[in-house]
Symmetry: C3
Amino acid sequence: MDELKRMTDIEEIRQLKARYFRFLDTKDWEGFESLFSVDAILDMRSGRGDNLDPDAVIQGASAIRAFVSAAVQALVTVHHGHMPEIEITAPDVARAVWAMEDVLYAPEDSEMPFRSLHGYGHYHETYEKLAGRWAIKSLKLTRLVVHTT
Amino acid sequence: MDELKRMTDIEEIRQLKARYFRFLDTKDWEGFESLFSVDAILDMRSGRGDNLDPDAVIQGASAIRAFVSAAVQALVTVHHGHMPEIEITAPDVARAVWAMEDVLYAPEDSEMPFRSLHGYGHYHETYEKLAGRWAIKSLKLTRLVVHTT
Amino acid sequence: MDELKRMTDIEEIRQLKARYFRFLDTKDWEGFESLFSVDAILDMRSGRGDNLDPDAVIQGASAIRAFVSAAVQALVTVHHGHMPEIEITAPDVARAVWAMEDVLYAPEDSEMPFRSLHGYGHYHETYEKLAGRWAIKSLKLTRLVVHTT
């Protein structure tokens, strides 16, 4: 594979995921939806401990937007990604593991099962390049630990 | 634009910002000042919650050094940056958004309004390359949340 | 030096260190050992505040694996690295500084001197490329601050 192409693909995927975090935490839901393939899959089944349905497997960019925005719209959230292992597995196809940390704060009058949540884990993702633009094709969250107050 | 040049510029800006954090937290103020353009602007007006003047807009590398070193010299500080979205907008001109986290600890006998501060937000920055070296031209901090004890 | 080679070397070292963190926190000790040169050195003498021997200087990939796995096997650990300053100093030779954060949780019935530990600091590392693969040749940890409960 062309090494320069591989480097620019990796950088584009890094920036795709950077927008994922920024749009999520600043609640730019139109931007957020645009980062996913139309038929993308969000698998939160191992993302235990937060306020999401533990059986949640969501399909489709618009369903992912609806699901995630409903889950966090009332919260202050901080999601950070670290140390990506991005592998271009074929032209316009890639996968990655990211370390992650999230911090969520529920409002005073919230019916959430926590006031604050602080968790750590990994995102396991796949990507595809469509019409010249990388998109998230699948995202699966696994957890190392979650603390709530 | 030459793609390899773009990749090396992005890497140089990543390492410029890495030195920003390391020099800040290890209190290497001469190194810190050297990272800024002579007429750089530091805009902390949205960096609410910490011990800085909420109206602070500081101009000039030496004034930025004086302002920041005075603010944190007595504290233990940890500043981390994440997930940069670095865009080379013209030859030798760039901008970026960085996610950030900061942790500050005031000494026991401090007159600071907090004992510890833990915050999250984003840096919005511009850069210029002068005499072959990237420098920070402007830095604006926005906050997602700040907690103090 | 060839700039594209330098970019791919830097990316490979980033991913080497990403595997270091992932293997450590998921306790994949065979993978962990494989990241180090046979005669690698782990210097934890400035890594004060955690549960490691403060005089620890360990030599050899298998000794490093034995030392680290014994120290953390019973704990939940999260180690994140940030903002690497990676410098290729000669063909197949490199060094880097990484900002780091670690969070350790001891089990309820543990004899550890802490229930939880939250620390920040820097890794100072060297690398060498052997048989086409980058490996960690030395790792020294310094601390900004460590808190325990």
